[in-house]
Symmetry: C2
Subunit: 218 residues, 2 copies
C-alpha cells in the first residue's frame, strides 16, 4: 500500500475514532510511525486530507445513491428485503465516514467546497429515496398527492442525514450494526403507512428482518 | 433592565446571529458598551453565560413540552389547527435558542451538563409527541402496533431536533416563519397517513393552513 493511501486510511480511522477536531497531522504521522516531513510531502496539511477523504466519500456514496434512480428494483415479493439491504449499504457507507456527521456544522463552516458537495449529496439522497418510494407505492394512493410525497421524502432524507447524531445522543456506544439496522427500520417505518392493505405485511416483514438481524449481531 | 439580564439577552442575540464559536465576551461587552470588567463582575466567562442561557431554554421548552402530557387537547374538530399552533410554539422556542442547534456537536462535547440536559429535553420531546399522536390516533389502528408507534414518535423527535440544521443546509437565509411552518408541516405529514379515512381531510387542512400562513408572511 502506498504511503499516500495509508495516510488517508489512518486519518479516516483517527477522525472517526477520536473526532476530527482532536486529531492533528502529528497524531497521524505518529500513528503511522512516519516523520511529519514525510506526511507533509504527500499532504500540505489536514485540510488537504479532509478534502480528499470527502471526495472519496462523495464518489462512493454518490454511486450507491444513483443505483435506484438508474435501475429501480423490479417489483417482486422480496422487495422489503431488497430495500432493507440497499438502505443498509447506504448507511454503512455513511458510517465509514461518520466523522463528517459527528462534526458536521463545524466542517461545513470551515470548508465551503465540502458544503457544496454535501448539498449535492442531500439532493441525491432525496432523488434516491423518491425513486424507492415511487417504486414501493406504485399502485397506491399517494401518487395523487405530490406535496405529501415530497414531505415524506424530505422526512426520510432528514432522518438519513441526522440518524447517527440522534442515535449517538440517545444510545452512546451501541454496536454500529444495531445503529444502522435501526436507522433502516426508522426509514421504512415512514413508508409503511402509505402501503394501504399491504401495510401490515410490510411492517411485520420489517420487524422480522430487524429482530433476526439483531439476534445475529448479539 | 438589570445589567445581568442585558448580558444574557445580548449574548443570545450575538450567539444566534454570529454563531457561538465566533462570539467572545469582549464582543458581548462591546455590543453593550460596558467594560469587560463589568461583564466579568456578573459572569466569570462565556461558559457561565452559555450554562445560564441553557437553563433558561430548558425551563421554557420543558414547560411547553409538558403541556400536552399533563393536559391533552380535547378531541374537537379544530384539532389540526390546535396542534399546528402548539408545534409552532415549540419550534419557535427552539428557534429563539437556535445557536445551540447550529453548533450542537461542539457544545454538547464541551459542556457535559448541557449534554445531560439536552438528553432530558429529547426524552420530553418524545413523551410530548407520543401524547399528541395518541390523542390524534385514538380511534385508529396504530394503537395495536406499539413498535410502529414508537418508530413514528422517534422519527418525529428526530425531525423536531434537526429540522433547523436540515433547513439551513438546503435553504440558507429563509425567513424564520417559513422555516418553522414547514417544520410543523413535516411533523404532521408523518402522522397523516395513520389517520385512516380522515387522512385526506387532515392533510388538506394542513396544506391549507401552511398555504395561508405562507401568504401571511410574504
Amino acid at each position: 500500500m502506498k504511503t499516500r493511501d495509508r495516510i488517508l486510511e489512518t486519518s479516516l480511522k483517527l477522525f472517526n475514532g477520536e473526532g476530527e477536531a482532536h486529531t492533528t497531522t502529528i497524531d497521524i504521522a505518529n500513528e503511522m510511525d512516519i516523520s511529519p516531513g514525510n506526511l507533509y510531502y504527500h499532504f500540505k496539511g489536514k485540510d488537504q486530507i479532509i478534502a480528499e477523504l470527502y471526495q472519496q466519500y462523495e464518489l462512493a456514496l454518490g454511486s450507491t445513491l444513483s443505483a435506484p434512480i438508474e435501475q429501480p428494483l423490479s417489483a417482486e415479493k422480496n422487495q422489503v428485503e431488497d430495500n432493507w439491504y440497499y438502505l443498509y449499504v447506504v448507511m454503512e457507507e455513511m458510517y465509514q465516514y461518520r466523522f463528517l456527521y459527528y462534526n458536521l456544522d463545524d466542517i461545513l463552516q470551515r470548508y465551503p467546497d465540502i458544503r457544496k458537495g454535501f448539498k449535492r449529496l442531500i439532493q441525491l439522497k432525496r432523488a434516491s429515496l423518491f425513486s424507492i418510494c415511487q417504486n414501493l407505492l406504485q399502485q397506491d394512493i399517494i401518487d395523487a398527492r405530490d406535496q405529501q410525497l415530497l414531505g415524506l421524502v424530505d422526512n426520510m432524507t432528514l432522518t438519513l442525514t441526522f440518524w447517527f447524531n440522534y442515535d449517538q445522543l440517545l444510545h452512546d456506544g451501541r454496536p454500529p450494526e444495531i445503529t444502522i439496522h435501526q436507522g433502516v427500520l426508522q426509514l421504512l417505518t415512514m413508508v409503511a403507512p402509505y402501503l394501504g392493505d399491504d401495510e401490515l405485511t410490510f411492517y411485520r416483514d420489517c420487524e422480522e428482518i430487524y429482530a433476526n438481524l439483531l439476534q445475529g449481531t448479539e
